[in-house]
Symmetry: C2
Subunit: 336 residues, 2 copies
Amino acid sequence: MANIRLSDVAKLAGVSPKTVSNVVHGYAHVRDTTRARVQQAIDELGYRPDVRGRSLATGRTMMLALAFPDLRIPYFAELAHVIAEAAGERGYRLLLEESGGAREVERAILSADEAGIVDGVLFQPVWLTSTEIAQHRGDIPVVLLGENTAPLTVDHVHIDNIAAAVQVVEHLAALGRRRIAYVCAEHPRPSETSRLRLIGYQQGLEACGLPVDPSLIVSGTVGNADAARDALGAALDAGMAPDALVCRDDLAAMGALRALAERGLRVPEDVAVTGWDDITLATAVRPSLTSIRADGRELARRALDLLLERIDGFDGLGRHEVVGHSLVVRESAPGV
Amino acid sequence: MANIRLSDVAKLAGVSPKTVSNVVHGYAHVRDTTRARVQQAIDELGYRPDVRGRSLATGRTMMLALAFPDLRIPYFAELAHVIAEAAGERGYRLLLEESGGAREVERAILSADEAGIVDGVLFQPVWLTSTEIAQHRGDIPVVLLGENTAPLTVDHVHIDNIAAAVQVVEHLAALGRRRIAYVCAEHPRPSETSRLRLIGYQQGLEACGLPVDPSLIVSGTVGNADAARDALGAALDAGMAPDALVCRDDLAAMGALRALAERGLRVPEDVAVTGWDDITLATAVRPSLTSIRADGRELARRALDLLLERIDGFDGLGRHEVVGHSLVVRESAPGV
DNA sequence: ACCCATTTTTACAGCGCTGTAAGTTCACCG
DNA sequence: CGGTGAACTTACAGCGCTGTAAAAATGGGT
């Protein structure tokens, strides 16, 4: 089946190609009779516009990229879902790019060596520093997501990690917990996200008048429940005796739940546990997870707004926006 | 920064545009001195090929779509990851499309009203019947994924659901379980996937000489652990007393674990539980899940091979391929 | 019937690239 | 030193569509 082109429709309808284009786009100034004739030709031939020609002519692809570490991490999958939905409402498709958490790949994403694929990029870096980000070629609009410090020249949407971490610690302290551990700081160098959460963790302890004890910080691989279980398990076996855990994310929390259960420690009676991200499964595990929940819909909305403004030509300094978060209290660290 | 075009590079290097194109593509018959000169011009100008022009000229976009119900379901996220990886190895990007499990959207995916976005589609339908699929416009190559019966004219890659379900039941029977329930059949009409798994479940029971008891079939929403927990919980409260559960997928299994635990039933001592999909978190919950694992890498490989053959013009009858699966035995339904 | 202001339609050129086929240059042989 | 095939390079046309600006048609007065 040879592909039907705009001009084929035009020929059949006896109008110029541009008029067909106008009909396809619902342009107002087309006589009803003309529109009907063109529409009939479209239907008759089964014409479907080819976006490549269009995008070459308009300079827009109506596609955005969302770049983040790994689709298999529930938080990112859920984020992608929300953003794809919001992008769709604005007429854009979403292309997902996984960096695998590798600095190389993150760099490649910013300096893409092919143009014309997407109109803009939403990018959640893990390792790239703001200096590196600031040096990106700038051929294409970028909005940063997540917790990294962003350069002044680039838009950025995030939650207040420090405040959230403080809130978590205060919640645990209000439950009477005194030996509050932090589970899964990357080793040897924490990602920016972890760094901020650790700062908040420490601030929270200080605010509650609790000592900051480095031996209560468990290092481990991020984004992997089993790794968290092993890391925490080893720490517990080595004698660490926390009465609460601030976990870097829900996956770590799930691993922690296992490690605790395997040692006969009850949650929350013996050890209260909090997660981060409030993934869907947070309600399915037992006990269900108390967790920090970012306002994902708002995050998607703001990020897309900023990006679309850039695509429309806005060229000012970077905007840095904070979206809301909340502590969702569940069984693993219940309310007082 | 005005965009640099191929012709700009050609001008600077003093060659024809086509020669620049040849250099970009690593075409063999370019004199070294020419290549060097062109390369220098490319670097100097920071030229990056525009894929839109290329794809208009070649007729290829080097993008594939993967359409499935919902990114937030871990199995699909993990599937998307594997397929994206395999597609990348073949030089293709992957565009994800979520159907939301809606028949309407599934139909729209097949009869996309815009052309030229992707070169082919991998499609995991939930509700579309093979008749409907067979009637799709055929403008674009499609390979079906997953468990639906596919029309004879369309390629299809799947695992043997019936055999896998039989295997699960036999495993449970070998543990001495006699009252093996099935958790989460969609109500009122099961999806094709559920139907096949139910058939296998029944066959397995018969093969083991166990009675098929309809009251051991729990209906419920699919893809949602909490719904599974509620559905199973209600059934248990109503007096159902299984000693094993075949769960439709790992999410259902996780919900089931909760429902059982809340009622003081021990897994696997009182009730053995199996899942399906072997998602990453299957090892993180407690007890870890015995689950059916499809060979995802092989699935991705085969599906892409078939699709790329279609894109290359293959026009024969549909190929139907079965990829391997295995029963991964863990704590929730241990080996004998 | 004619003029003017709209409304509707069109011609044109070009977005950036590559396949084809037809040059042109080169190295080497007789 | 011409001839020859291989190695290299290019002209051309067109992939399918849309922005622009200008032309054509229409309608409403006078």
